[in-house]
């Protein structure tokens, strides 16, 4: 396993770095069991997803394996996923992150300290953002990146441990040497801050940013 990087990503780093765009027609083809469509989607998204899983695992093989596993799961789940009006890309990201964290824990022999799998989300896809919501987010990535930078340092640090190391609240408190209650309130306050700012950015008013 390669040494972990000191600095952590906190969002897209430049205007040139664009995220994945929408592929509504592709998802419909995948749902219709078109392997070529899945491979096309893989070709377009894998470089971007691999960067994420590599950040989590710090291991090239594990990172690639996590991305591959995610696309296999997409293949299996595709008939159940809504392919009209919703973006499945967030599903891919959440799944890839989860698989990558599992690879990392398997390799290190550690167990995660908190409950992880959101069971009800596996049974329903009502939580998937609409394509319009996803497109709006993609159009405002640069502003949203700034929001993450505005978090107080201790909140940002705790959040990055959650996102990239997959640590639960108690593990974060131990890692930072802080009381659990402080970490919990900090994480909640941080998410409240991000949520409020995102609502501003994703609405029509960006004057606060």
């Amino acid at each position: 396993m390669t040494p972990r990087k000191q600095s952590r990503p906190s969002g897209p780093r430049s205007r040139q770095e664009k995220g994945p765009s929408a592929f509504p027609g592709t998802f419909a083809r995948i749902a219709a069991r078109d392997k070529t469509a899945l491979l096309e989607l893989y070709a377009r998204l894998a470089p971007w997803m691999l960067a994420m899983t590599l950040e989590i695992t710090s291991d090239r093989q594990d990172a690639a394996s996590a991305v591959e596993e995610t696309f296999v799961r997409l293949w299996l789940e595709a008939p159940r996923l809504p392919n009209k009006g919703f973006s499945v890309i967030p599903w891919l990201v959440l799944t890839a992150r989860r698989v990558a964290l599992q690879r990392r824990w398997d390799r290190s022999g550690t167990q995660k300290g908190s409950s992880f799998a959101p069971g009800p989300l596996s049974d329903s896809f009502a939580w998937l953002p609409t394509q319009a919501e996803f497109d709006r987010l993609e159009q405002r990535r640069e502003l949203l990146r700034r929001i993450l930078r505005q978090l107080p340092k201790h909140q940002h640090e705790a959040l990055m441990l959650a996102v990239w190391d997959g640590l639960g609240e108690e593990a974060i408190a131990q890692r930072l040497g802080e009381p659990l209650a402080r970490v919990q309130s900090g994480l909640r306050a941080g998410m409240r801050f991000i949520r409020h700012r995102m609502r501003v950015v994703l609405g029509t008013w960006s004057a606060l940013i």
Partner: protein, 75 residues
């Protein structure tokens, strides 16, 4: 369950950060299909998506597509 209590938990739930008690509370409430909370969950999903961005790309191994295709054929 009072939904507003959960408002601060959606993203942390998706990230797997919450302790077992809070996570169970969220799971149980989601299982009710509460439309207000599902809407907030969609918003939280976008936030987590954004948080998981590195801003970089990494080129996959040249044989990765072939490897994926082999996996697909077994399903």
């Amino acid at each position: 369950m009072v939904c507003p209590y959960l408002e601060d938990l959606w993203e942390l739930y998706l990230l797997g950060v919450l302790g077992a008690e809070d996570a169970n509370t969220v799971s149980e409430h989601l299982a009710t299909g509460c439309p207000r909370c599902m809407e907030q969950m969609r918003e939280a999903t976008l936030t987590v998506y954004l948080l998981a961005q590195t801003g970089r790309t990494v080129r996959p191994h040249p044989k990765s597509k072939a490897s994926l295709l082999r996996r697909l054929r077994s399903h």
